[in-house]
């Protein structure tokens, strides 16, 4: 039920609120009726959110926000509304807030929720909005949480953990009454991607894959995954074999240890939550890849890998800044130009 250490899967969550069955149904009934509460006309349209579990309406822009998504606190922080509670994903950082987002925290000391969502602790915060985009909560949990405050879920068209960073930013901006700020933020990050693409027109159409090797298993991130999406936003395409493996409902594809050729891209980024990876360095099949022999590997260790895994409006600029020179050194296909991260990790040919 838990974690590929920040690499892909997020813990499934369950209800551990100690609610009786009767309280549950009473609550569910209340949730249905509360949707009918009158809201001021001016906000009604702006503050109605359609999502995978139905529709939530905010009476007014939110101020006390509980962030249950594993990465949504980044977006709230970027929008200047630090959440009153955050959800711990992985890593060892206060309140589950990683370095790229720490400066936005100010004096706020959010309650950090670990593991399954405790309804009682959410209620104790008396929030006026619960952000559960990318939280993995069930529809039953959604119903109970909706008694506490309006709950935002991922879009019906997206998969649970597949909400793109820009959509997340715009949605939360709207919920906080900060749509203009959200648009500015999104435009700023898009411009950063565009600037990188302008500086490297040769990247367009090249192949790029984010791979992992963990506990003896090797695989690639695919489709709507934040790491795969990051590469496509830079103009890269997956290799044809990775494209074949891609399915809309999966984040990653496991590969046979006997055939790692799907990873053989013009640039191969290894995602790891450790900074030292003896098992990847010693992986004999890796040495058969052209990507290895031509020095096309980039190593994303703990901080960079987390930044790519968060794929948030705050982590992406950080990752872009760190990775641009790395990818440049890798994609030329010459071993003389060293890729610093790969050399440090001992991956370089």
């Amino acid at each position: 039920m838990i974690v590929r250490d920040g690499l892909r899967v997020k813990p499934a969550s369950g209800l551990r609120g100690g609610l009786s069955r009767r309280a549950f149904f009473a609550g569910a009934a209340a949730a249905f009726t509360s949707a009918a509460i009158r809201v001021p006309e001016a906000y009604a349209k702006d503050l109605t959110f359609k999502h995978a579990f139905g529709e939530s309406v905010l009476p007014r822009p939110a101020e006390r926000v509980v962030s249950l998504g594993f990465t949504s606190h980044d977006t709230l922080l970027a929008l200047g509304t630090p959440p009153v509670a955050t959800r711990y994903w992985f890593g060892n950082h206060p309140y589950g807030v990683w370095p790229w987002a720490q400066p936005y925290l100010g004096d706020t000391k959010p309650d950090m929720l670990i593991g399954e969502v405790s309804i009682e602790r959410v209620a104790a915060q008396e929030p006026d909005l619960i952000v559960a985009i990318g939280s993995g909560i069930s529809e039953a949990e959604y119903q109970v949480l909706s008694q506490i405050a309006p709950v935002l879920m991922h879009d019906a068209a997206d998969i649970t953990y597949g909400t793109p960073w820009d959509a997340m930013t715009l949605t939360l901006g709207r919920a906080l009454g900060k749509s203009a700020e959200a648009e500015t933020l999104v435009a700023g990050v898009r411009e950063k991607f565009a600037a990188v693409r302008r500086r490297h027109p040769d990247w367009a159409g090249k192949t790029g894959v984010a791979g992992y090797h963990w506990g003896g298993e090797t695989g690639a991130f695919i489709g709507a995954d934040t790491r795969a999406r990051f590469l496509s936003e830079l103009g890269f395409q997956p290799t044809s074999k990775v494209a074949e493996l891609s399915s809309p409902s999966e984040f990653y594809a496991r590969l046979s240890p006997e055939d790692l050729s799907p990873l053989d891209a013009d640039v191969l980024i290894w995602i790891s939550s450790f900074d030292k990876v003896p098992d990847l360095v010693d992986l004999p099949m890796r040495k058969t890849l052209r990507a290895h022999q031509e020095g096309r590997e980039v190593f994303a260790g703990s901080l960079l890998a987390a930044g790519m895994s968060f794929g948030s409006v705050l982590s992406l600029p950080f990752v872009l800044e760190e990775l641009e020179t790395e990818i440049t050194a890798a994609i030329d296909g010459r071993t003389e130009t060293q890729v610093p991260t790969a050399t440090r990790a001992g991956l370089a040919p």
Partner: protein, 328 residues
């Protein structure tokens, strides 16, 4: 004699299939090429040298060790349900390794595998004591219950450590359900020596262990010290199981299903029974691993899952036929 041929033949077939069947097709010509002119950039050569051969070797060692360990435990406890997995010894080894990972902060360091031995030793001692082994009134049911309880406790402790530390599931899955997939990264040579030592130990005390099965009083009459034989057997089982866990993680039910078949093929005598159990254990583990490689290719099913799939029904079958005090 015919049955011995069958056992060796099965093993030879398993080894050949394990070497030649997989996601990548390998021809005998590739193998020859690899032997005369190894090219570390040729995926076929790398597949044979660093995936198929280590996997097969680990399958042979672990399967053999677990088959012999199961045979020994069943003889020692006079319990046809005895098995390093059922009795919680696998779990003990896995727990010790996970605890080591917790304390050292590293999940993948090779030295941690050594911890499998004290883990297996403590668990086997505990289950033998809890099951009444030292008071001489160990019933199969009592010992199986003690093992099941111990196993459940240790596995939940492993899970607790995983959750506490936020260790990646993949790292720890290895210590919950075994697999041959990481063979290349395992200390094969050192563990082979441990298995060899365990095998010699159990073969040398086999006749005394058989005498023990006549009952304490009778065995004393034959000049056997029950406690010493029991201690020696537990020592051998610890070596065999600890090494198998260090190489492949806990492989369930192998030590349970192999001995009854082995006894049927070569008779009830313990020494030939041990050899037959080792041969059969190795064959079954290799075949389980091959099946796991192919069923959902390119993704793999762990060998430990496959043996559990086969072994679970065998466990039920034996348990249903069980009458106290008889073996197999």
């Amino acid at each position: 004699m015919k049955n011995w041929l069958l056992l060796f033949g099965l093993l030879a077939v398993s080894v050949a299939v394990s070497l030649f069947v997989g996601v990548r097709s390998i021809s005998p010509a590739d193998v020859w090429q690899m032997i005369v002119d190894f090219d570390p950039t040729d995926p076929a050569h790398v597949t044979i040298a660093s995936i198929r051969i280590p996997r097969t070797v680990v399958g042979l060692i672990c399967g053999g060790a677990l088959g012999a360990a199961g045979m020994t435990m069943q003889a020692l406890t006079r319990n046809p349900l005895a098995d390093p997995g059922v009795l919680g010894i696998n779990a003990g080894a896995a727990f010790a390794v996970t605890l080591g990972a917790l304390l050292s902060g590293r999940a993948d360091a090779g030295f941690l595998t050594v911890l499998a031995f004290p883990g297996a030793a403590i668990a086997s001692f505990a289950v033998f004591a809890l099951g009444g082994g030292f008071r001489g009134n160990a019933s199969p049911v009592r010992m199986t219950l003690a093992g099941a309880a111990l196993s459940a406790l240790l596995v939940s402790l492993v899970t607790a450590i995983v959750l506490m530390r936020g260790l990646s599931l993949e790292v720890v899955r290895f210590w919950v359900v075994g697999s041959l997939a990481e063979a290349n990264a395992r200390p094969i040579l050192a563990m082979s020596i441990a298995v060899l030592a365990g095998a010699i130990a159990v073969l040398s005390i086999a006749p005394k262990l058989e005498a023990l099965s006549l009952g304490d009083a009778l065995s004393r009459g034959l000049g056997t010290n029950p406690l010493r034989v029991q201690a020696g057997s537990l020592f051998a089982v610890t070596l065999l199981t600890g090494a198998a866990v260090a190489l492949a993680g806990p492989i369930a039910f192998l030590g349970l299903m192999v001995p009854p078949i082995a006894r049927r093929l070569v008779g009830a005598s313990l020494r030939p029974g041990l050899l037959a159990a080792a041969l059969l254990g190795a064959s079954i583990l290799l075949l389980a691993d091959i099946a796991g490689r192919l069923v959902f290719a390119p993704a793999e099913i762990r060998a430990g899952v496959m043996t559990a799939l086969i072994g679970g029904p065998v466990f039920v079958l034996i348990a249903r036929r069980l009458s106290p005090g008889t073996v197999g």
